[in-house]
Symmetry: C2
Subunit: 270 residues, 2 copies
């Protein structure tokens, strides 16, 4: 009976992931934190083939912000991580980048793949993946509790360059009660493929963050007395590289609007 209950829970989680992707494909737009709990979420960046080597090398050199979960080869739209998914339609919101600048946001990227048929797509681990384990340990994830997007910030930490790519690291922030910071570190550390342990605890100024109330991406969140801001490397870092490096063309997810896979977060637990 217990095995059966576990199988049912697993099937329900996969079904929730399928339903979420179908809803986004049909036009629903919302941040994905808290959606399909227990399933791995991913950042996405698609680049013309000519930029693929530079990017894969950039990711290898910066594994904390850019842990690669899968690479979809030029012109393809499927990934082993999500059965039946189409990377052009199944993310709630896309960003289109031209010459290093945000050109527009779209809900369907099919026309962009038609415009650039040689796009190579990279799926990158997302810290939303370990939010379920954090919550299971009784640690409130503020942006989920408050129903908004996670706050993300550009930092003064430069990534190690690769080829034509350079840029700063982007971080996500979660306020954690002081007596739970160690638990949040320990839990997230066991998920190195989805950013792992925090890169910084407390003192935003040391990261070059002037005002936590004004994130560069996503929404600000409440910080209660006794809570410490904890910063994790963030998969929006590739978008910072697109901007800093003047990449001619790229398609990414919009920060906080992730690709939801069929892979249980436990698959990335070490």
């Amino acid at each position: 009976m217990q095995a059966n209950a576990l199988q049912q829970a697993r099937a329900a989680a996969v079904a929730a992931a399928h339903q979420a992707r179908a809803a986004y494909r049909a036009g629903s737009v919302r941040p994905t934190a808290g959606v399909a709990p227990g399933m791995t979420q991913a950042n996405m960046i698609a680049l013309p083939r000519d930029w693929a080597w530079d990017f894969l090398l950039y990711a290898q050199r910066n594994p904390k912000p850019c842990p690669v979960l899968d690479v979809i080869e030029a012109g393809a739209h499927q990934t082993l991580l999500a059965d039946g998914a189409d990377i052009r339609t199944d993310i709630p919101l896309y960003r289109v980048w031209r010459n290093g600048r945000l050109a527009e946001e779209v809900q369907d990227a099919t026309a962009l793949w038609a415009e650039h048929p040689d796009l190579v797509t990279f799926l990158i681990g997302c810290s939303f993946t370990f939010e379920t384990p954090l919550q299971e340990a009784g640690i409130e994830v503020r942006h989920i509790a408050d129903g908004c997007n996670v706050p993300m910030y550009r930092t003064n930490r430069q990534c190690r360059p690769a080829g034509r790519l350079h840029g700063e690291m982007v971080v996500s922030m979660r306020p954690i009660p002081a007596h739970r910071v160690a638990d949040a570190v320990s839990i997230s550390a066991r998920f190195p493929s989805v950013h792992g342990a925090p890169v910084h605890v407390g003192d935003p100024a040391a990261l070059g963050i002037a005002d936590l109330a004004r994130p560069d991406f996503g929404d600000p969140v409440r910080i209660e007395p006794g809570e410490i801001p904890v910063f994790w490397a963030c998969g929006v870092t590739p978008q910072a590289a697109v901007m800093a490096s003047g990449v001619p063309f790229a398609v990414t997810h919009a920060p906080g609007y992730m690709f939801i896979t069929d892979v249980p977060d436990s698959s990335y637990h070490v």
Copy 2:
């Protein structure tokens, strides 16, 4: 005083790594298990630039056997992982591959880089890195205790292909007393960048290994009563891909004769 003692220990470990590389550069040839304890060791494969994308993608798709620690760009010989090292000379023994076949073994690869000036070099995590933590936990590492090379085996597990590359996974084997297998798993699991947890415990036949006494690479080791053979993914896997895929030209380390870095193994502990 304690901090000072730690600093001295660290400096001594780095000095041991430098001395080892200098000895290999001068012509010493021996397996590197147990050398410069506490310092990360790495597998090496260098391929013409035309093969670099395929290989980096192969490594991304097969992170257990092929965790990439650094990529040295075309024609360069230095790595951030080892101050002053030259990848062409500082490995004790190299293998030269032509059209998927082992052509020769050499102690100095300088002439090969002159022959192929566009070689891109990949340094890949090695399980020797977590042998110091295993020993610190009181687990004997048999090939170190007996002064021979680690036994390595080709398996029936196919890696996920990438471009022109395919091949089977290679594993290393250490006999572990049954009551310490869980400890060996737990300790190595915390080092995912150097192969992490075992891929298989016991029953060699299930991996397609017919006879533990006849490894495909390295030396056979004693298995005492009460010991279980435990198998870790191995960084010789790229050499299996070179053979299976008929790669026109490659230079690798000889199995068990690794590149010793200046990076403490604790850097890869999660």
